[in-house]
Subunit: 149 residues, 2 copies
Amino acid sequence: MTAPEPLHALQHIQSLPSWLAGRVAARGRSLVAEAIATEGLKLPHHAVLAAVSEYGPVAQADLVRRLGIDAKDVVLLLNHLEDAGLLLRSPDPRDRRKNAVTVTPQGTRTLERCATLAEQANAELLSPLSPTERQQLMMLLTRIHESSD
Amino acid sequence: MTAPEPLHALQHIQSLPSWLAGRVAARGRSLVAEAIATEGLKLPHHAVLAAVSEYGPVAQADLVRRLGIDAKDVVLLLNHLEDAGLLLRSPDPRDRRKNAVTVTPQGTRTLERCATLAEQANAELLSPLSPTERQQLMMLLTRIHESSD
DNA sequence: CGGGATTCATTGGGATGTCCAACGGTCTCC
DNA sequence: GGAGACCGTTGGACATCCCAATGAATCCCG
């Protein structure tokens, strides 16, 4: 049933859902990255800062598990964010192996601005779709995502 | 209207369409990569091989333009594909600056197998969706993608 | 209560993907 | 015929991703 493909091999690849999703994701990624660059953050920094904000004083190993980022990279990201005054590493008195990472007030303000910027970028990404279609897309993507834990 | 976010900053990020699309794209990417690894190809190699197949004898600069890949990387990818006997670089007699890149019969056969494998991987990616929903998703992604030329 | 296994943060290195700069060789066009 | 553009190639910067090893601290079980 799959017709002879060799003559349209590239078109075939570029018509696959995986390729299409990749392009859309790349554009969304780029839009959000451009938006939050205003605040001096890159995407991984933003994610880490948000995770620290959400999970209060948190150990780095917890960030590794929650975000699925490599421990090495967490160290580097936290270095940058700490140098920028957006978060703080302090020793955990209850377990001297751990760092208790917390957000500074400045970090919270930056995060609030980034939330707005990221939403605007996503609005631009979805601008070709109607509100109903945006909801549909979210629902479909969520279904695919949740089925792959 | 945007409620106070700082307490759910990570959840907020992870509920954005850009993040969701990124996760789905990453999974699709991984599934396809795993599938075509059977043929000894990685994703960029597959794309380049497909482009060479589709555009007949083609200069490397044309591949750079059509695929949006850096010229340096095209060189490396072609080196690998040529060593594997999947394509051929021969001097273009009409322009001695150019290489005329063509697919070998073996390359064509590999490409046919990869087409099937990539389709199977995409079927697995979309397995949580009904046929109608798959069509909807494709339509929505296509609309977003086409509006960003 | 003591000692082996585990966890923590950090450092290092390798493989990969993306991008920019420069180079000699070749062609185009005026 | 000569200036400018284009070709393939090489080199290096930079971020991401994965694996391994370290010393310090804690946990658990016998």
